[in-house]
């Protein structure tokens, strides 16, 4: 199961990196120069998530958005920060603000998905 370097992987990662935001599959396909199959894009994205390169966020539009992991090793950080989805420019970004939650005892949290929706700084 060793990863290989492919033009597809590089292209996908480059588009996300340049955007500076979280991106959905269709946004990536739209921005990318070469033609990549939809299923392939999803497979590339999911592999990046497995490898701790990207993390996945579910927004209120029920779509998956993929964002760069910023200095988090898989085992420790769980991407417990807020995300912001702007209804005007449609972008989704990672916020620096951490999610601090407390839950009743007996519950075991494995993933956190917190998305705030509204109007972003630029669009205000």
């Amino acid at each position: 199961m060793k990863r290989r370097n492919t033009p597809t992987k590089e292209a996908v990662l480059s588009v996300i990196t340049k955007s500076g935001q979280a991106m959905s599959q269709d946004a990536i396909e739209g921005e990318i120069s070469i033609d990549i199959n939809r299923a392939t894009i999803y497979r590339v994205l999911n592999r990046f998530c497995e490898d701790g390169v990207l993390h996945k966020v579910i927004a209120e539009d029920s779509k998956q958005y993929f964002a760069l992991c910023d200095g988090c090793d898989e085992t420790h950080q769980k991407h417990q920060h807020f995300h912001f989805k702007c209804t005007v420019c449609e972008t989704l970004e990672c916020l620096p603000n951490e999610v601090n939650y407390s839950i009743p005892s007996g519950y075991h949290v494995e993933h956190v998905n917190c998305v705030l929706t509204g109007v972003c700084k630029k669009c205000s």
Copy 2:
């Protein structure tokens, strides 16, 4: 646009109330005694959301879950509490714990969607 009372509305609300949890369309359809069209169930649910009877949560499975609003009038409370989705029993419940977020200035938040995923108290 005045609402009417129909058997469908009552049946849907009754199923959700009895369950004590947030429910998806397919779960509702499965639990309900009478036969109701899928599109109709969604329309009923969305009307309840407009009327402040239910609120909608997007879980990590990208599905919509609908939960009873507990003493919140539409204008004030924004359902800013955490939700918990159990990966074992597949249920999604509203937690009493409030979401306290701080975001960079310039951002205007309209909706909050926070879901914790893991194993619930019962399934632990």
